[in-house]
């Protein structure tokens, strides 16, 4: 199995390689606050669990712009924004699980993306200086 550290490493790798963002872990007490996307990706295989990422919608917009090659003022449909946020979670979870090199295949569910007003979950990393929360829940 693995630690949260390896999951955050995977999140950082995806942010930098596919979304052209700068990612760094943080020990500072930075909250993820305001309007956010919560992205949940469940997986089963050698073991089962859920990776949960919470990011500000403003950051999702920034990542979507970078991924799509759009300009900063281009309008992005809400569906596209949440789809891309889900794909971000999917890539992060998949990258992490691939790195574990388990002998059994993992299956990932379609990411569930929900919009909510985050009261101040503690961030574990910064992407383009914006806080992200990453949680790993192992079910068995």
């Amino acid at each position: 199995m693995s630690s949260l550290k390896s999951v955050t490493d995977a999140v950082a790798s995806v942010a930098e390689r596919s979304f052209f963002a700068f990612a760094e872990t943080t020990d500072a007490d930075v909250p993820v606050a305001g309007d956010c996307y919560e992205i949940c990706v469940a997986f089963t295989g050698a073991f089962a669990g859920v990776v949960r990422i919470v990011m500000p919608i403003a950051l999702a917009h920034e990542l979507c712009t970078a991924f799509s090659g759009l300009g900063p003022d281009d309008v992005i449909a809400q569906d596209s924004l949440s789809d891309l946020a889900g794909e971000f979670g999917n890539m992060a979870c998949g990258t992490w699980l691939t790195g574990l090199d388990e002998p059994v295949c993992f299956s990932l569910t379609t990411p569930v993306v929900s919009q909510r007003s985050e009261p101040g979950k503690r961030a574990v990393m910064l992407v383009n200086d914006q806080p992200i929360s990453v949680e790993l829940e192992i079910e068995r």
Partner: protein, 127 residues
């Protein structure tokens, strides 16, 4: 059957944004292709494959309704051996590669990927 285009492509992924990204990478590659079709899962892909002449398939693995692995099995069962199969997935594990080894997969691209990866694949499979 649509036979007017020389090298038609089918992109299969449940994320519309990812399909758009792959499509953009194909267009940026400079490789001459015909029509680029899209499907959101393996079941939809089978419908496209039955209706159109597809030369190359780019498919994700983890998708709802029908996975990429099941799609490849269905293609093998139908004898569609002429279609070039390329997997584009976050799952690059050896276990997954082993699972699809006997399903005529020509190339395997791990997400996240740079657009150049798609160009290199096209240059290889177009030969």
């Amino acid at each position: 059957m649509d036979t007017s285009s020389p090298f038609n492509i089918l992109i299969v992924d449940d994320s519309a944004m990812m399909r758009a990204m792959i499509k953009r990478a194909v267009k940026l590659s400079g490789v001459e292709v015909g029509t680029i079709h899209e499907a959101a899962n393996g079941q939809e892909a089978l419908g496209v494959l039955e209706a159109h002449a597809i030369a190359a398939l780019f498919t994700d693995i983890n998708m709802p309704v029908m996975t990429g692995t099941e799609l490849l099995r269905q293609m093998a069962a139908r004898g569609w051996t002429h279609i070039v199969r390329v997997i584009v997935s976050t799952d690059g594990s050896e276990a997954r590669r082993e699972e699809v080894r006997d399903l005529d997969v020509r190339m395997y691209v791990e997400k996240p990927f740079a657009p150049e990866a798609i160009r290199d694949v096209l240059a290889e499979v177009c030969h």
